[in-house]
């Protein structure tokens, strides 16, 4: 991607456009109010049709995202989930009517914030789609800044809304949705384009590395801009070895290996109660569970079997060794288990590497757990104490086996209230 060029997608023709064209499109977007006239329920129903279309093997994203979390995304845009999220964050009354009666004199009116900029990262495509969905179900107009390289899944997703074979309502809402979106791509060093897309953004949903988030959050805007940042996050597991059994280890390892350990919900290290050194049977429990999963559910691991992973695993093993960690497995083992305090640079995204460390009491975990923890998955007795120690540091505490479960993956993602604007309307006396 050249530095000064901006790619803009009108969903039909991929064109390289000038900065002026981009500015013009954004000006048009500013005066576009197509989506506001539809109810939340109508939008949810439209997404429900998209759910059905995307669940078919013929959909262009089906094979592309099949192993990259499409089923999770589908569960996210399932009408029950969207309704639940909207009701949960905006209230049932707002969901049905767009407003809430405070008392006989006052109404709370809920409207979209306006233009929502979605600054996407390239690592987990479905997060980009989730981001766009969050903006659209709150009726915002959206500018999507795609990662500077990699495939454009967003346009394929949005094209689904233009499917003509459904019904009139789908067609109307679908077209309004697509008209409310600008998909653009430029090199992140292109400050001019970055400022143009941020200029009128009254909310920014930012994904990616700390650097990317720092950069995009500092862009100047002419309007007050709500920053919603989904920065880099990690997850961990906390287990009491006395409560672990084969099934517990299998659930724990499944959480680790799913999505090639790339999701922010994938545990990267395990805290074991019982210190000071994790007992061998805990390490064996983890390793044996991996072997059982490999035999029973090899498809969970299939994604990791290409050659660069073998090389990367060897690199991790050697880097961990140089850093002084004790390895409990060989690089050729599917899961690399190392022993020692968590090191932020030694996590094995995509390569099945997990650190095991122990603690004697809950205070100790608090001091050992790194910042940026998304979730903690437990097999633990004293949940209250665990929550007291970690509640303010993590978004989610859930049992092992639930890291990527359908019921729980959206904690921390429900930012619909931040994407909406509330105002009070006083009635005439």
């Amino acid at each position: 991607m050249r530095l000064n060029k901006v790619s803009f997608f009108d969903l039909e023709n991929r064109k390289e456009l000038s900065m002026n064209d981009l500015e013009k499109s954004i000006e048009e977007l500013r005066v576009n109010n197509d989506l506001i006239s539809f109810s939340y329920e109508q939008i949810v129903k439209t997404f429900s049709q998209v759910y059905r279309l995307m669940a078919k093997p013929t959909h262009p994203l089906y094979s592309k995202l099949r192993h990259l979390g499409l089923s999770f995304f589908l569960s996210f845009i399932h009408s029950e989930n969207l309704r639940h999220m909207l009701c949960d964050s905006l209230g049932k009354e707002v969901f049905s009517t767009g407003r809430r009666e405070i008392d006989s004199k006052r109404l709370c009116m809920v409207s979209p914030r306006g233009i929502s900029l979605h600054w996407l990262a390239g690592n987990v495509p479905i997060l980009g789609l989730i981001s766009v969905t969050l903006g659209l179900i709150t009726k915002n107009k959206i500018i999507i800044k795609l990662p500077s390289s990699g495939e454009d899944y967003v346009s394929d997703f949005l094209k689904t809304f233009l499917s003509s074979k459904i019904d009139d309502e789908f067609q109307c809402v679908g077209q309004a949705i697509v008209k409310s979106c600008i998909v653009t791509r430029f090199n992140h060093l292109n400050l001019e384009a970055s400022n143009v897309v941020a200029k009128y953004a009254s909310s920014r949903v930012l994904w990616g590395s700390q650097d990317a988030i720092d950069f995009s959050s500092k862009l100047q805007s002419l309007v007050p801009s709500e920053l919603i940042s989904f920065g880099p996050k990690l997850s961990a597991a906390v287990i009491d070895e006395a409560l672990m059994d084969d099934l517990g280890y299998e659930r724990l390892v499944t959480d680790i290996v799913l999505f090639q350990q790339m999701a922010c919900t994938s545990p990267q290290f395990i805290f074991v109660k019982g210190g000071p050194i994790p007992k061998q049977h805990v390490i064996d429990g983890v390793k044996n569970a991996y072997e059982r999963i490999k035999k029973k559910n090899a498809f969970l691991l299939n994604q990791t079997e290409d050659s660069s992973h073998s090389m990367k695993k060897l690199e991790y093993s050697i880097s961990l060794s140089i850093k002084g960690y004790k390895l409990h497995s060989k690089p050729e083992d599917g899961l690399i288990v190392y022993e020692g305090e968590p090191d932020i640079n030694c996590f094995g995204y995509g390569h099945h590497v997990v650190g095991v460390t122990s603690f004697e009491n809950e205070h100790e975990i608090r001091s050992k757990i790194p910042a940026n923890i998304q979730g903690v998955y437990y097999v633990y007795g004293d949940l209250e104490e665990l929550f007291n120690q970690l509640g303010d540091k993590v978004d989610r505490i859930a049992p092992v086996g639930q890291a990527h479960s359908f019921e729980l993956p959206w904690d921390g993602l429900n930012v619909l209230d931040k994407l909406s604007h509330k105002s009070i309307l006083w009635r005439n006396n």
Partner: protein, 362 residues
């Protein structure tokens, strides 16, 4: 320090069986040396070593590790030179450190290996690069190191390109001067990075440049470096050699591709006349299956290089990300003994990123 060379022995004259015995003993000594003097290597060994029963059992360090860590087995104040790899697959180059002893071993090795292909005679040396590439007293790029490795064959050298605004341009005056001298001397050798040499010859062809080097003796065009850009332009080795040979009126076999990398201290692998590469008796190649890392023969895999020259840093056993294939043992028609292999290309590397991947994009 161990002397890896045997007296009165040419690089390719020891057969596989004897070579294995020779290598195994010395490799064991060299590994013990690195465990003793390189703390990082010792830690690696504590976690990964197994019983060394065969050469294949020794620990191998993936080349990318030299990008991330500075591994060194001699006192830092004895380091004379640091070579940066060309870092084709990432922005971080490998750093390989040389003390005087290793520099000497490197010089002797490269000289002996290339002598087997281009003869020992000193000749005018025409370098298709800018002089700046070879400058740098204590550190140097892999490109600079490669062109310097041929200096031992040079009677007088000529840099025939000039860099301006980041672009290399052919200096026709310098080239004419070099060729005039080469004609008087009756022959020359030449070196350029594979891609640069390609661009130069595209330009020479466009300008209808012709030179009859066929009448001279011992003319060789050596080149090294990646093929990716060329393959993207659908230029294969045969076409490449032919294009150059046509300009100079020489045989395509006088265009010699050699493979080497910064981590493979002092080892270069020129193609023999049968288009395969050979390994000298003080080094070895093991090709490993890309998934299981099991050694394979007659099947492509990652190339691991064993070398007794890796003394100032644990580069005695390096697993590269390059794909190659062992095609014969002790039986190449060129007469060189030991394993013969083909370089196939770089492995395609999957870029793995996660939503928790904090540092990958930094």
């Amino acid at each position: 320090m161990m002397n890896p060379f045997l007296e009165n022995t040419l690089p390719y004259e020891i057969g596989e069986k004897d070579k294995r015995t020779f290598l195994f003993d010395r490799l064991s000594q060299l590994e013990a040396f690195h465990i003793r003097f390189c703390d990082d290597y010792k830690k690696i060994s504590q976690n990964l070593s197994k019983q060394n029963l065969e050469i294949e059992d020794f620990i191998y360090i993936p080349a990318p590790i030299f990008k991330q860590h500075e591994l060194i087995s001699v006192s830092k104040d004895t380091i004379k030179k640091m070579i940066n790899s060309s870092s084709t697959s990432s922005n971080t180059p490998s750093k390989v450190f040389f003390d005087q002893n290793t520099l000497n071993l490197q010089r002797i090795s490269v000289h002996n290996l290339l002598t087997s292909f281009i003869g020992a005679e000193r000749r005018p040396y025409i370098i298709f690069d800018d002089r700046k590439t070879a400058q740098g007293k204590n550190s140097m790029s892999a490109r600079g190191a490669a062109l310097m490795s041929l200096m031992g064959f040079s009677k007088k050298f000529f840099f025939v390109m000039k860099e301006k605004n980041g672009q290399l341009n052919l200096d026709m005056d310098a080239l004419s001067q070099a060729l005039e001298y080469a004609e008087k001397e009756g022959g020359f050798i030449s070196y350029g990075f594979t891609w640069i040499l390609h661009l130069v010859h595209e330009q020479l062809l466009k300008n209808n440049f012709q030179f009859n080097a066929g009448k001279l003796k011992n003319v060789y065009f050596l080149h090294s470096g990646g093929w990716k850009k060329l393959l993207d332009k659908a230029v294969d080795k045969e076409t490449y050699n032919k294009n150059i040979a046509n300009v100079w009126n020489i045989s395509p076999s006088q265009v010699v591709d050699f493979y080497g990398m910064a981590e493979l201290v002092g080892l270069v692998f020129p193609d023999c006349e049968y288009n395969v590469k050979h390994v000298p008796y003080y080094a070895d190649i093991i090709v490993r299956d890309v998934n299981s890392f099991e050694p394979v023969i007659n099947k492509p895999g990652y190339m691991q290089f064993i070398s007794l020259l890796g003394q100032s840093a644990p580069t005695h056993s390096v697993l590269t990300e390059d794909i190659g294939e062992i095609v014969s043992i002790d039986s190449c028609a060129c007469g060189r003994k030991g394993k013969a292999f083909k370089f196939i290309g770089r492995s395609t590397k999957a870029e793995v990123r996660g939503c928790g991947d904090i540092y990958a994009s930094k």
